[in-house]
Symmetry: C2
Subunit: 555 residues, 2 copies
């Protein structure tokens, strides 16, 4: 890994970043700049070694270990959103320490701060599922390839993205095994054994698991070869029940997005060609990112009896007839984290909704020479304790190595919703200062917050609610300002061209929809549940259309 | 899947079990016994089809859907422990609906009741880890094969058990990818990029994940191709810190086993040849199962700098020297569920420790004709509400289709620690009756429990504590009665022959240890932390031995 040539003088540690691939490397060099050692990612990056070493000599040592933990104002390195949204996103993912690249192309490591956000998502959704009577289970990850082939649409949809295990225990397998891209087939294989009578229904299952889809174009959280998700699978006695379940679950996702993640998603129905491979109907929540591209943030499928037929899942109904159950499946994934970053983030970094922030309140003691630093530290600790006792996630950043200004920038990058500052004068006055992450500078500052525990906690709760509302209303205003009502295809083209979403009456065919995609790269995101009513001419065909649809470029 | 030959008469539903493989099947037949349809597990079982159909005609229809939910006294089907422990275990796993077989040989589906036990394990361990400053993260599952080859012992240990992905997205991969059997290599690949300075240490990470090991002999929960676990990975500045961390984590496991799972495990050190492939030292907790075989229930490894060297993980220490961090890894898995079943279960089924029981208190209303059933149901509901409000996991089984006796057997099979019975006379007296699962019949019954909420909750808490203590002391007594102090090799052979554990002074070599394994099939389970002190002759070699070791047959 590290090519070490031991020199005689003590080496200088350099922190380098590969200019092409942006991976970090540690190198040591002599005082005269001779490279002594270089840590290189192994595996697939080995082929970049020579390129890298060449560019290394031209690379400048960047960010010493101290600065690693945050960015001072001078050292701010993230690309402004307005300059390059994609670069900005990758910078935030990196500098907020949310994720890193795995050694296999398209894979990612979810770092502790990113994983803590995922734990927040899990906690919220899992308790909602359980309230609805859904039980968690775990199904095997390796699925016989033949299972996928049983449902014609399903295999057609997933075949290009499969990872296959062909060897196990040193031997070639008789049949390749698919590394789970989704589990409808595996679940139905088991349901066929578990469901025998109407008394066994409804069966409401969910699993938290990893899945693999061999994507060509990847981006951390948004589209990766492997991701984490939950997949719900339910079986019902009637089509009405299954339809209601699928609707209920997309509403759970919408509720999560709006009330926990502060993402003003639009719930609706997918068009036939945008639906899940094997579903009768796919419901979705669509979110607008900061670059106005759409993100499908959660889906719920009414599968009818498609998989039940393919797998022979049958039950004896109350009338004594053997019939197929009606099924649903629904999933939300670590992609949500990407959605949160791209909905709320700004040029200072991440902005986290309080419901998901691993740290909701960070308390920075302002320690000044010749003052009672002990009293300030004690005040900061007691505030954190009061907040924690009240169920808030609070942390004191008491280190003396970094300046308060440095800490402010660091926690802004990390997206902590509320920052509390407490200095000697505050302690004397029995108050402290709070700063909201969603409002820059003085506008977001609130003075005179009581140090007294109950008053402090009440203030924090209110501020966190305000930050949630602030993020949600800002994102809602942004979304609404960027959806254009279109009457004609030219209107749509202009809206898409301007980077916006287009919303218009729609009665086109699958072919019409494909043509729009080809000509504009925009896809039909959803037919929103919320409809204007009445009818009018389809913007493309002029035919009478009872519904409006939203088209946009999407991730 | 289902071969249906539609008959003219309404079909009869039959529930069959394959006599060889014990899989359940649903079939329909005419009144004259002509098979009309048969649901068959697909995939690898396809080859049994003809065998199965042949034996079907001889198979008797077993257990109608009603009995599916439990076993009446007459219908009790689990094999007694004393008759065939292995069969008993599989019966309990099946009838308590903990797990089922997956379609790929050696895989299992964890059913909701089994998964809820796992969620209990996760909840306990995860909060302990977090208290110790460990952060959760997620590392990619697919590992370049070359990574494993970097650590010589590691690849030698794991090579025979690997599952390999060789195709992705329809193409052959340049390098096969290993489906994670454990993540030391992947973690070190990332740590080499993340750890640069002593300021970055200690780095304490954990992930909850699935792993695959291509085992030949499998058994649900105990040894499966895929299982769920947590794997902790830590890096430290000094060897002392790493050693202390490894010890701390095995103590966390021991604490969990004893205080949550009521398993009286013996913590200790593995011998060199039984240690983890790549570790300097492996610490373990060893549990005695009901058949007196040993189960390794959790391990913690001091890895030294073995992986750091292999992956070039280095940091600049306080003295300005580039050195390798010292590492640990530690894991506990769904195997624990198997351990709980085999430690506590009896001929009535599962017995769950209250700390992990998905339902701690089941309340069965005794509804009699011509009495005030409404009052009884209301009392049962209010007891459950009081228990839930106090943080206990309680459930009312109010159905009228099954008799109380049937329900008692069902919840005994499910291992619920405390059953509460409340009938019309109890309601009149303001009391109810409780039955402990750990004590059969009248001995475990307690009368006069108050219906008044606070008194009821206090009684339940006390009973649950008593059940925990009861299970733990029973298992401890069983364990201690089955460990034989041995002075000679003949003593050991006799103890192992009798199915017991042998404990004796040990100063043998690796070769001596292998010989014992070959001659007796017993392995060195651990050198317990708790030692008698002093020294004495090794039972095998006669050499002076400062320590005693435990040998036993193991899962």
């Amino acid at each position: 890994m590290a090519t070490s040539i031991v020199g005689s003088a003590p080496p200088t540690l350099l922190h380098l970043r590969c200019p092409t691939f942006m991976h970090r490397h540690v190198a040591t060099a002599t005082a005269r700049g001779v490279l002594l050692s270089l840590s290189l990612p192994s595996g697939r990056y080995r082929r970049f070694r020579s390129t890298f070493v060449t560019s290394c000599s031209a690379a400048t040592a960047e960010r010493p270990p101290k600065a690693e933990k945050g960015a001072s104002d001078k050292d701010k390195r993230i690309t402004p959103k307005s300059v390059d949204f994609s670069r900005w996103y990758l910078d935030v993912v990196r500098d907020a320490e949310l994720a890193d690249y795995g050694p296999v192309r398209g894979t990612m490591v979810i770092r502790p701060y990113g994983y803590a956000i995922w734990e927040g998502v899990q906690s919220y959704l899992d308790s909602r599922f359980k309230e609805l009577g859904v039980q968690n289970a775990y199904f095997p990850q390796l699925i016989p390839l033949s299972f996928l082939q049983k449902e014609a649409d399903h295999v057609e949809g997933f075949a290009p993205e499969l990872a296959l295990v062909t060897k196990g225990g040193g031997k070639d397998l008789e049949e390749p095994l698919v590394v789970r891209p989704t589990s409808e087939t595996m679940v139905n294989h088991m349901l066929a054994q578990w469901i025998q009578s109407y008394r066994d229904l409804p069966m409401l299952l969910n699993q938290w698991a990893n899945v693999h889809r061999w994507e060509l174009r990847t981006r951390p959280f948004i589209r990766t070869l492997e991701f984490l998700w939950q997949e719900g699978h339910t079986a019902h006695a009637t089509a009405e029940e299954a339809k209601a379940m699928a609707e209920q679950m997309v509403n759970v996702y919408a509720d999560f997005a709006i009330n926990c993640a502060a993402m003003p998603v639009i719930p609706g129905r997918k068009s036939r060609i945008e639906s899940f491979a094997g579903a009768n109907v796919t419901l979705t929540i669509e979110a607008m990112m900061g670059d106005r591209r759409a993100l499908q943030a959660g889906t719920s499928h009414d599968l009818g009896d498609n998989f039940a037929r393919a797998f022979g899942t049958q039950f004896l109904d109350e009338a004594g007839e053997l019939v197929h159950p009606q099924q649903t499946s629904w999933g939300a994934s670590t992609r949500l984290i990407g959605g949160i970053i791209m909905t709320h983030g700004d040029d200072m970094g991440l902005r986290l909704p309080p419901g998901l922030a691993p740290i909701q309140v960070v308390i920075v003691p302002i320690l000044k020479k010749n003052t009672d630093t002990e009293a300030v530290l004690a005040a900061a600790d007691s505030l954190a304790e009061a907040a924690k006792a009240a169920g808030l996630r609070a942390k004191v950043d008491a280190g003396t190595e970094k300046t308060p200004g440095f800490k402010f920038s660091y926690w802004e990058m990390k997206g902590v919703p509320v920052r509390v500052e407490v200095g000697p004068r505050d302690v004397a006055q029995g108050t402290c200062v709070a700063a909201r992450r969603d409002r820059p500078g003085k506008e977001g500052k609130q003075f005179g917050i009581p140090l007294e525990p109950a008053g402090f906690v009440a203030s924090m709760r209110q501020l966190l609610d305000e930050v949630h509302e602030g993020l949600l209303s800002e994102a809602t205003a942004f979304r609404d300002a960027n959806i254009v009502d279109v009457q004609t295809y030219d209107d749509l083209k202009a809206a898409i061209e301007a980077g916006k979403w287009a919303k218009g009456r729609w009665a086109g065919s699958d072919e019409d929809e494909k043509r729009i995609k080809e000509e504009t790269t925009a896809t039909l995101r959803c037919i929103p549940f919320e409809q204007p009513g009445g009818s009018g001419p389809c913007f493309l065909t002029g035919a009478d259309a009872a519904e409006v649809a939203i088209f946009a470029k999407a991730y």
